[in-house]
């Protein structure tokens, strides 16, 4: 149980550290770092979504950028129509209310993940990886070549969407919103992992035949997890678009899918706070090495390669010791 306690300590350190970083930044009047912490938070949120499919369910989705980007476009398109006062579809108006945008983003991302999941889960292993990648590319090329919402140039969000009672234009408020959503998603992840659903999902990952033999239908459980995973990543996309004030097909590009996997792995796959650690490492790496050399991705690649070859438990695994994840 010592390892378990060590992981809990790491989780507490990560949660408090992520909260403390922007407070320190505000104290020394460096609002840029508040936004950077918000970026970490939202990438971690997207990672929590992927961790549900990848870590608990063992479904290696190389296409989660699709849900991330879809969430982003929901925020962008609804705000665009609210700004212009034009209807989105069938007379429905746009909106600049974050909460409404979140709900729409989660519903649409969940539906998309359910459709893609239903098709992709007919296969497994290497096929699944390639197919999820290919579906994400399909969406990417669609947004790239469809000019209604900016096409290749992307779509700006001129006024950040709002929440009653908060000033989302202030970096600190935006951070608090993102942090709150991340904590909620982490709580949901922990709850699902502890529930019968999570147990079934992990059983299927470890041995689908045995799970089926005890009466768990693998397809339904995996599909539900995949859809929920897409919803969380879609929510992260909607918030990220608001943070950046901009959404473009790049959010859906295959590199984004790769980064999300990297976030899950660097931190420790299947661990509750794995994506938080992973996102912090990735953004930290980008900020520190990106400032030193324009070739920082070379070093990221080397570190990633070393982690995969020699430190398979990720950062949390390295500190807390390797346990069977889940």
């Amino acid at each position: 149980m010592d390892e378990r306690r060590r992981e809990l300590t790491i989780n507490a350190v990560l949660a408090l550290g992520l909260l403390a970083a922007p407070l320190v930044a505000l104290a020394v009047d460096e609002p840029f770092y508040v936004t950077l912490a918000t970026r970490v938070t939202l990438l971690a949120l997207a990672g929590v979504g992927l961790n549900l499919a990848l870590g608990l369910g063992g479904m290696v989705s190389f296409g989660h950028a699709a849900y991330f980007g879809l969430g982003g476009y929901v925020a962008g398109i609804l705000a665009h129509h609210a700004f212009n006062g034009t209807p989105v579809l069938l007379g429905l108006p746009g909106t600049d209310q974050m909460i409404v945008i979140w709900v729409v983003a989660m519903v649409l991302a969940g539906l998309l993940a359910a459709v893609i999941g239903a098709l992709s889960l007919r296969t497994s292993g290497i096929f699944f990886i390639m197919i999820t990648l290919a579906f994400a590319q399909m969406l990417y090329y669609f947004m790239l070549s469809w000019p209604a919402y900016g096409g290749e140039d992307g779509l700006p969000i001129f006024l950040r969407n709002g929440i009653p009672g908060l000033d989302t234009m202030r970096p600190w408020d935006m951070f608090v919103i993102s942090y709150g959503v991340l904590l909620a998603a982490l709580a949901l992840f922990a709850m699902l992992r502890g529930a019968r659903f999570g147990a079934a999902l992990m059983a299927i990952r470890q041995n689908p035949d045995r799970a089926a033999a005890v009466g768990i239908a693998p397809f339904g459980v995996k599909l539900a997890a995949f859809a929920a995973s897409g919803m969380i990543t879609g929510l992260a996309g909607a918030l990220m678009a608001d943070l950046n004030g901009f959404v473009s097909p790049a959010m859906m590009a295959w590199q984004t899918s790769g980064e999300l996997i990297v976030i899950c792995i660097l931190g420790g796959v299947g661990r509750l706070f794995g994506p938080v650690a992973g996102a912090a490492i990735l953004v930290g790496f980008e900020t520190v090495f990106g400032g030193l050399t324009q070739h920082w991705q070379l070093f990221l690649g080397l570190v990633l390669l070393l982690v995969v070859l020699f430190a398979r438990g990720g950062l949390i695994g390295l500190i807390a010791g390797r346990q069977r994840h889940g």
Binding site: L119, S120, G125, I126, F127, M138, P147
Partner: protein, 305 residues
């Protein structure tokens, strides 16, 4: 829309498909024999194109550049196999994806450091410049040559796998690796050879396509993803499947981009038809892939039963 334009687009589709085949053949061989998913295959395509462009610039000969590009990609493939890939065969697919994703980052930045951040240009060799008359259409001689090279390479690959000792070993490695190791075949060396062969094919495709596109960092990944679509459609591990899938993807993608905007033009106004048609055309091959998956989840030509 004239017939000659249609034929020209059809030939473009075949040419595109055959270049995709060169990429997909390497991927599918490596998966079939070693069970490895290699995302860095697109980087080998890029290395082939860059080395070809630079050597052709130095020596003034496209052909020497092509040989150099092919050799560089094969050498890079062999080195990567020995240093990194070899450690991944026993790992799960997630580790393979991550490690080869890391290789993409390393190789892309490496190429940027060595060759500079700007795109290079590679011109079509003088011998193949201009067009040739095919009766109803004047077609680019270079693209026609690419079709010829693609077909010859496919034939050569088939001969290699069906008719040579190396081919027998590759096929034996696909069906039972323990057994052929027990029979005294040096399986590690065989894996390196197969990987280098796939790399050489990718490098050749990169060098050949480099003369009709710009040679730049990141050029490999879009082709890599299309090659994935190809082998998912064709069936992973099957060379025949890769050929059929590549031609299907090449022709459908090219014809879709050509025909769909015109088809929508029949009942939409021109600018709207262009937008809708182009957007749909870009999704067409993925829709094809989804259909194949629904009807035949293991692809058109499943390799092992």
């Amino acid at each position: 829309m004239s017939l000659s334009l249609l034929v020209e687009q059809l030939l473009n589709g075949v040419q595109f498909g055959l270049m995709l085949f060169l990429m997909a053949a390497g991927l599918t061989l490596v998966f079939g024999v070693m069970g490895l998913i290699n995302l860095a295959h697109g980087s080998l395509y890029m290395i082939g194109a860059f080395v070809c462009a630079v050597v052709a610039g130095w020596l003034g000969s496209f052909w020497l550049g092509l040989v150099a590009g092919l050799a560089a990609a094969a050498a890079a493939g062999a080195i990567i196999e020995v240093v990194v890939i070899r450690r991944l065969y026993a790992r799960d697919h997630l580790d393979q994806v991550l490690a080869t994703f890391a290789l993409i980052l390393i190789l892309s930045e490496g190429v940027r450091i060595i060759f500079g951040p700007f795109p290079l240009y590679l011109s079509v060799p003088d011998l193949l410049n201009g067009t040739v008359s095919l009766g109803i259409v004047d077609y680019s001689l270079y693209r026609l040559a690419l079709i010829g090279v693609g077909l010859l390479t496919a034939l050569g690959l088939w001969l290699l796998i069906a008719r040579t000792r190396l081919g027998i070993r590759i096929r034996a490695g696909e069906s039972d690796r323990e057994m052929i190791a027990a029979l005294g075949v040096n399986i590690r060396a065989l894996y390196t050879v197969v990987f280098a062969l796939g790399a050489a094919l990718a490098g050749m495709a990169g060098a050949l396509v480099g003369a009709i596109q710009s040679v730049q960092v990141g050029m490999g990944e879009p082709v890599l993803i299309l090659a994935f679509v190809v082998i998912v459609i064709g069936g992973i591990g099957s060379i025949k499947g890769a050929m059929v899938g590549a031609l299907l993807v090449g022709v459908i993608d090219t014809m879709g981009r050509f025909l769909l905007p015109r088809a929508f033009g029949l009942f939409l106004d021109p600018s709207q038809a262009m937008d809708v048609g182009a957007a749909l055309a870009s999704m067409l091959i993925y829709i094809l892939m989804a259909l194949v998956l629904i009807l035949r989840p293991r692809g058109l030509f499943p390799a092992n039963g």
